[in-house]
């Protein structure tokens, strides 16, 4: 099994799944990311990331019922696991911690 390191794109995907709650499936996640960030991830890249996250145990998936759209094909919905939540919290904490350690919080010329 791969390490539990969380890549930058993976983190965004993971957070987006959290944002979307019950409605997190491929296209929805892609559109949400496009809406919230400047980037346009390809659907292939997204699924690749989802597959990695699942392998690492940060998310789990279940298949929804057949729908009339999508050519009658089912969707796969993703939810964050406990481990996923822990990793997210940890990453957030680490970031804040480091952020707070910066001596002059108000950068010259920035604010």
């Amino acid at each position: 099994m791969k390490g539990t390191y969380l890549g930058e794109f993976e983190e965004i995907v993971l957070l987006t799944i959290g944002v979307l709650q019950q409605d997190a499936y491929g296209v929805a996640i892609k559109l949400e990311i496009e809406k919230r960030t400047e980037r346009k991830p390809s659907i292939g890249a997204l699924h690749s990331a989802l597959s990695r996250l699942e392998d690492k145990g940060f998310i789990e998936s279940r298949e929804g019922g057949a729908t009339k759209s999508r050519g009658g094909r089912r969707k796969r919905f993703y939810t964050i696991t406990a481990a996923g939540k822990r990793t997210l919290v940890k990453a957030n904490e680490l970031r804040n911690e480091l952020f707070n350690l910066i001596p002059n919080l108000s950068f010259y010329g920035l604010s």
Partner: protein, 873 residues
């Protein structure tokens, strides 16, 4: 709704289905469709489709791909293992069949491997030089049309070419002196005869690529009395010592005088695929005299040149056409042309070649025969496999009933064939490695199974063998067996045999036509080779022992002769300038009426014609008691009588004969024509005349064939008393004549080996066919026996059809053999007659082979208890 989704490009969809694992396919496809729909609304059809295609390709990511290995493991690998297992069980179950099958295939494959090695070796001749296409040999022509006739020639052109033509980068001559073709080489206590001793220009190492291990190729041969020898010669004479700077003795010239050479270089051994093979290269200007650069005469001299890379050889060749006129005036003796180095071994047929050459025809014939034998072996596999089909039909039926697809059965039979291929290839490698020493002996090559540790090539050969067997031999049975319809197969009525039976018969006729041709070929060749053996043997069966003379022996010739004659087995002996098989010198002169002709000249001692056993037609031999015989008495051959127009042999006696040295020459005797060279050449006009011992290069001794080794010991003993410098050496005249036919003897041996192989494989095929027929007709035979048929009538019934096949094969094979053998015999001036007995013997031999290979099966069928074949219905 459905129409709306059919919009995205189908091929992209199909591609996705092809590579994407089932686990992910539905979800990914769903997402792609949804996005497509979304984009259709937002951006229009074209861009949506483009996006779709891009996204489909974008899915080519590791996570989405089918796990191929897993999938294979699940099904194909298991089935493959199972196929191999079933195949193995089948091999074990029908041990007899399998042995025949695999042996036949292995023989065919081994034959192919050996011939492949042989042919690639032939084609590789002289290619090891750098830019071999830039090297040419100056060929000499005495033909009217200027086509090259001689590989050897004059000494001049090889020296001047490099000065006269700017295109020529280097030119070099290789000169052999001495009539024996061999010289004694001595260092310290070691003395041996060496036949590959040449005088060569120093540029020879620039023209050719013969790398020096020691010494500098630019200076090695520039000084007189220097020599370059090969690595193995260095080891032979110097052991572990460094040979450079040491001095060796040699006696290369006809005068038998000692010459000394300082070793200045050691060359790598000459590769076996070089047409030019040497052991010693002595510097050209170790020889002294004006003749060294002369343009006249034919010497044992071979001239080579290397042109500048990229220079135009065609125009250079044109310039060579009238080159000899520049040095020899308006009417030169010969014209010159350039012969590419790479053509020498396979595409030239010149007189006085430097070594034995081969021909392209031989390469083609061997390739064809190799492939033919492989095809026959594969055909046998095919025959036996289809013959076994009745047994496998039920298996096929059951498998199909359980849902096996035709392609799976096809795979099963192909993998069985491949299993046979693997076993046959393994066996073939064994056979090849056992056979190669004999092949090398036969062909005078050094072929190996693996060339220069090239394992990759070897692996390729193995793979090719297995695949050839799997597809050439296995394809048809696989198609045939997998085509059975289950119901028919299970009812045990295998149809569609008619066409196969016919094909099998054609194959048998084909095989036996070839066998008949080969048997006739072997018989004719062996009778021709018998003629070779008779060529030199006198009626009494006496042997002719020939010694090479040297100065020490000449000094004490009478004492030496007396010592040799002490042994009662020595019947007669005499010295001579030449002996048959060892070179010749021709003299041309006119008689008093002005009729000019040429004849081979022999300067010899009194007893020479008698020693050689020549048959006297008229007059007498030389007589020591008649003083005039010592000067100007000639014994000439019948052909010389004819050429010099001396009338009948009786009329020729007493007529004037001879040239400047013998102004009062008379013919005293006429002998029947005798052979000097191979049976390919006419027995030449020749004359013999008495000359002093300084002229003798050979000593011929006629010995009775009884207790030969004791006689040899005696002669050797006498030799060592009188000749201390040169070691004892001899040859038998009949063996020398046989060596002149080396190529013919080789061809004969190769053909007889191929005959045995072809017959063996054909017999195997016939055995299969017979077993198939008896199996098929088991019920018929059972009924016949129940109704009262005897064993003999059933045997006749079973063999009748084969007799017809032999007849057809004979009708096809005999004319072909007759034509081929006549072609082969055309090359001989003296040939064995093609007796009709040969053809009868061949047919009987084939009939016996057929009878013995079908006899067992037929007899088994005829004596079987009819109850066994009739009870199960």
């Amino acid at each position: 709704m459905e129409e709306e989704w059919s919009n995205p490009p189908k091929w992209a969809d199909r591609m996705l289905q092809w590579f994407c694992s089932e686990e992910h396919l539905e979800i990914l496809q769903g997402d792609l469709y949804e996005l497509y729909e979304y984009r259709l609304e937002q951006k229009g059809k074209v861009r949506a489709q483009l996006h779709y295609i891009k996204d489909a390709f974008d899915m080519l990511r590791p996570f989405a791909l089918k796990k191929r290995s897993q999938k294979l493991k699940n099904n194909t690998i298991t089935m493959f293992k199972n196929n191999i297992k079933i195949g193995w069980r089948n091999i074990l179950r029908y041990k007899g069949y399998s042995t025949i099958n695999i042996t036949g295939l292995a023989l065919g494959l081994a034959c192919c491997m050996i011939l492949y090695r042989y042919v690639t070796d032939e084609l590789s001749y002289d290619k090891f030089h750098t830019y071999p296409e830039d090297i040419y040999r100056i060929a000499f022509s005495t033909n009217d049309d200027g086509s090259p006739s001689n590989a050897n020639g004059s000494l001049g052109p090889g020296a001047t070419a490099v000065r006269d033509f700017p295109e020529v980068a280097h030119s070099a001559r290789l000169l052999k002196t001495g009539s024996g073709g061999r010289t004694v080489v001595a260092y310290d206590q070691k003395r041996f005869y060496e036949g590959r001793f040449f005088f060569a220009d120093s540029s020879v190492l620039e023209v050719f690529t013969f790398p020096l291990i020691k010494g500098d190729k630019k200076t090695a041969l520039s000084e007189p009395n220097t020599v370059v020898l090969t690595e193995s010669m260095a080891r032979k004479y110097f052991g572990e010592e460094n040979p450079v700077g040491k001095v060796i003795d040699a006696y290369p010239n006809d005068d038998g005088k000692k010459m000394q050479f300082k070793v200045t270089g050691v060359a790598q051994d000459v590769p076996s695929n070089s047409h030019l093979k040497f052991d010693f290269l002595a510097s050209y200007h170790s020889q002294k005299g004006g003749w060294l650069e002369s343009w006249g005469g034919f010497w044992q001299c071979f001239s080579y040149l290397r042109i500048n890379h990229g220079a135009d050889a065609v125009t250079l060749n044109e310039k060579f056409a009238d080159y000899s006129a520049k040095y020899m005036g308006e009417d030169p003796w010969y014209t010159l042309s350039l012969q590419p180095l790479l053509d020498i071994h396979l595409r030239s047929d010149l007189k006085s070649e430097i070594g034995p050459t081969s021909s392209m025809t031989k390469v083609y014939v061997f390739t064809a025969v190799g492939l033919l034998i492989l095809v026959i072996a594969c055909i046998n596999f095919l025959t036996l496999s289809t013959a076994k089909s009745a047994r496998r039909a039920k298996e096929v039926g059951v498998r199909k009933t359980f849902g096996a697809h035709r392609s799976q059965l096809f795979g099963q039979f192909i993998s069985e064939a491949m299993l046979h291929g693997v076993l046959a290839t393994a066996l073939a490698i064994g056979i090849t490695s056992l056979a190669l020493p004999f092949v090398n002996d036969l062909t005078d090559k050094s072929l190996t199974l693996i060339v220069q540790n090239n394992w990759l090539e070897f692996a390729g050969i193995i793979a090719a063998c297995i695949l050839i067997v799997a597809f050439m031999a296995g394809l048809y049975p696989a198609i045939f067996l997998s085509s059975f319809r289950p119901i028919v197969a299970l009812k045990s009525v295998v149809t569609g045999q008619g066409s196969i039976a016919r094909m099998r018969k054609i194959l048998v006729v084909f095989q036996f036509s070839i066998s008949i041709v080969l048997i006739i070929g072997t018989l004719v060749m062996s009778s021709q080779m018998n003629l070779v053996r008779q060529q030199s043997l006198s009626e009494s069966g006496d042997q002719h022992l020939i010694l090479q003379m040297n100065n020490e022996l000449r000094a004490n010739l009478t004492a030496f002769e007396n010592a040799v004659k002490e042994n009662a087995a020595v019947l007669s002996m005499a010295g001579s300038s030449r002996v048959p098989t060892r070179g010749s010198s021709t003299n041309c002169f006119r008689d008093e009426e002005g009729n000019g002709a040429c004849a081979f000249a022999y300067y010899n001692d009194f007893d020479y014609p008698e020693t050689m056993g020549y048959k006297l037609l008229a007059g007498r031999f030389f007589d020591r008691n008649i003083p005039s015989d010592a000067r100007g008495a000639f014994v000439i051959s019948a052909a010389a009588v004819e050429d010099f127009q001396l009338g009948s042999p009786e009329e020729a006696i007493g007529k004037k004969f001879g040239h400047g040295d013998y102004p009062n020459g008379r013919v005293i005797g006429v002998v029947d024509n005798f052979h000097v060279y191979s049976l390919h050449t006419v027995r030449p006009p020749a004359y013999m005349v008495i000359a002093p011992k300084e002229e003798y290069n050979f000593m011929s001794i006629r010995v009775s064939p009884a207790a030969l080794s004791a006689t040899l010991d005696h002669v050797a003993n006498a030799w060592s008393r009188f000749s201390t410098e040169a070691p004892f050496d001899y040859f038998f005249l009949d063996e020398a004549f046989q060596r002149l036919h080396q190529e013919d003897l080789r061809t004969g041996k190769v053909v007889s080996v191929l005959t045995v192989l072809a017959i063996l494989i054909a017999a195997i095929g016939l055995f299969g066919l017979a077993s198939f027929t008896s199996e098929q007709r088991a019920k018929e035979i059972g009924i016949r026996k129940v109704l009262g048929a005897g064993v003999s009538s059933i045997l006749v019934l079973m063999s009748k059809s084969y007799l017809g096949l032999i007849l057809i094969a004979s009708v096809l094979g005999i004319p072909l053999a007759y034509w081929l053998m006549n072609k082969w015999l055309e090359g001989f001036v003296y040939k064995a007659t093609l007796s009709p007995l040969v053809f009868v013997v061949a047919i009987i031999a084939v009939a016996v082979i057929v009878a013995s290979s079908i006899g067992y099966q037929s007899f088994k069928a005829a004596t079987a208890n009819p109850v066994k074949s009739l009870r199960d219905e």
